[in-house]
């Protein structure tokens, strides 16, 4: 559950990157966040897992009120949200398996538990056979899928994906979207930031438009 009420965000004083943003994404919903480059998509996603603060308004995510969330609670908020970053953020000195395992290691999961769940997540994104490879040995689309596996391996209730199909050819994009769709089908709330118009036509989902920091929804 994601709720924003009249949210403002500026990095520099007086320049609003987000301006009076109000929106709700319900539990189990799938939504696209669409807008041109620089519209504020990444910024909006970052607010949701408390990687950026906001200037004004209210943000509520999974029962956490982010306007006054305590520093020590931020890790617990983040454990309930899987994030696929625009730049993947994989560790190049760790194998695919170990990259995905990070999400479980921080919870203190046991070795067997980690093996079982990481294997399942890699299977879900179709990468099980690459688990011993290192990120730099993979294609962009494969790295993208490792990032997705890492985001979903602990069954978060929300999945945020920032341009998960950026730089991918149309076939691969559809494949990735199918994976996200499957994850949504299992009950996870999914919010995908993209400027890929092709996808919007192919997957008929709720679309939240964002332009120069202002959101609107086609009725």
């Amino acid at each position: 559950m994601i709720q924003l009420y009249h949210v403002y965000k500026s990095y520099l004083k007086g320049v609003h990157v987000l301006e009076d943003v109000s929106l709700t994404v319900s539990r189990g919903e799938f939504a696209f966040l669409v807008g041109p480059s620089g519209a504020g998509k990444t910024t909006l996603l970052k607010l949701l897992f408390s990687a950026e603060s906001f200037t004004d308004g209210q943000v509520i995510v999974n029962n956490y009120n982010l306007a006054n969330i305590r520093h020590k609670n931020i890790p617990y908020l983040r454990r309930s949200i899987g994030v696929v970053f625009q730049d993947f953020k994989l560790l190049n000195n760790r194998s695919v398996f170990d990259n995905v395992a990070i999400t479980l290691e921080i919870l203190g999961a046991g070795k067997n538990d980690i093996r079982r769940r990481v294997t399942k997540a890699l299977k879900q994104v179709g990468l099980q056979y690459l688990e011993d490879k290192y990120p730099l040995e993979l294609s962009g689309g494969e790295q993208q899928r490792v990032a997705i596996a890492r985001a979903v391996v602990n069954n978060p209730s929300i999945l945020l994906a920032d341009e998960p199909t950026g730089n991918l050819d149309p076939d691969l994009s559809v494949e990735i979207m199918n994976i996200l769709n499957d994850i949504n089908a299992m009950g996870t709330t999914v919010l995908v930031a993209t400027h890929d118009k092709y996808l919007l036509g192919k997957f008929e989902k709720r679309t939240i438009m964002i332009n120069k920091g202002r959101v609107s929804e086609p009725i």
């Binding site: 890790p75 983040r78 994030v83 953020k89 921080i106 046991g110």
Partner: protein
């Protein structure tokens, strides 16, 4: 915190050390040197304190009898025993004094034959109760002896022990200052090593934060790295100290007359070694903790 996390922490702190072996080598060497200097002072002061307390136990008064008194020793002895704080009194005649002196000369005692009469005085060796061994009390007893007007000279070994105490105190101050200087340097170097590790791991730290690791979880491997550095540093320095100690003993035992051996100059007892180890581990933790603030930022 559960066992899996502890395994994770140890695994990662060891891998941190493995990934920057040279830096860790330099750090651990610095800790070793700092702890070696520190524990050398501890050992020297420990042994000298032992030594001085042995001498203190031995503190006694010797009263040299005027040569005019040739009889009545038993009476004098009784009178001395009556003094407050006197425990035992032993009379030593002129002849006994000469015999002791002769035997201390060994083969070189010939020249004594040329001396017409025995120059050594008879004396009373006065042993005291334990709480009468301070300077003030000794002086009190000595002045009481003086009023008997039968002694030419009254000596007690207190004076130089007092000097020795002063010397020990100076040594303690110097030891503390030098030790503290090196320990400060060690903390500084540890904290910089950890800073380097944190810098090398910044991508990993960022990702750990983003997937929901707590501050404690992120910091633990670095704290453990500091603890391992402190621990290894202490082990190395204690081993080095022991080698130095054995070498010193071997050298000084060759000079047999000094009479120092492993019994009267022991190595640091286990309790002290444990304290040095604990202290060094704390040093590693503090050095590491000083750098961990950087992790919280951002």
């Amino acid at each position: 915190m559960n066992i899996n996390q502890i395994i994770y922490f140890i695994k990662h702190s060891l891998s941190n050390i493995r990934h920057s072996l040279l830096v860790n080598f330099v750090t651990i060497s610095t800790i070793s040197i700092a702890i070696l200097i520190f524990s050398s002072f501890v050992m020297i002061i420990f042994n000298l304190t032992n030594l001085v307390s042995k001498f203190e136990d031995d503190v006694h008064i010797v009263a040299y009898l005027n040569d005019d008194f040739v009889s009545g020793y038993e009476n004098i002895k009784k009178n001395i025993l009556k003094l407050n704080g006197v425990n035992r009194v032993r009379y030593r005649s002129k002849e006994q004094a000469l015999a002791i002196f002769k035997s201390s000369l060994g083969k070189n005692d010939r020249f004594l034959d040329d001396i017409p009469h025995n120059p050594l005085p008879a004396s009373f060796e006065i042993r005291l109760e334990n709480d009468f061994k301070s300077k003030a009390k000794l002086k009190g007893i000595a002045s009481a002896l003086k009023t008997m007007r039968i002694f030419d000279d009254i000596s007690f070994g207190q004076e130089w022990i007092e000097h020795f105490h002063n010397f020990l105190n100076i040594l303690k101050v110097i030891g503390t200052a030098i030790g503290a200087g090196f320990l400060f340097a060690a903390v500084f170097i540890i904290s910089n090593t950890i800073k380097l590790t944190i810098y090398a791991r910044r991508d990993e730290i960022e990702i750990l934060k983003l997937v929901g690791a707590t501050d404690g979880f992120i910091k633990a491997p670095f704290l453990i790295e500091g603890i391992i550095q402190g621990f290894l540093g202490a082990i190395i320095s204690i081993a080095a100290l022991y080698v130095l100690y054995l070498m010193f003993l071997a050298k000084i035992q060759a000079l047999s007359f000094v009479g120092i051996n492993s019994t009267n100059m022991p190595f640091l007892p286990p309790k002290f070694l444990a304290l040095v180890l604990l202290f060094s581990v704390l040093l590693g933790m503090v050095g590491s903790a000083m750098s961990l603030g950087e992790i919280i930022k951002g």
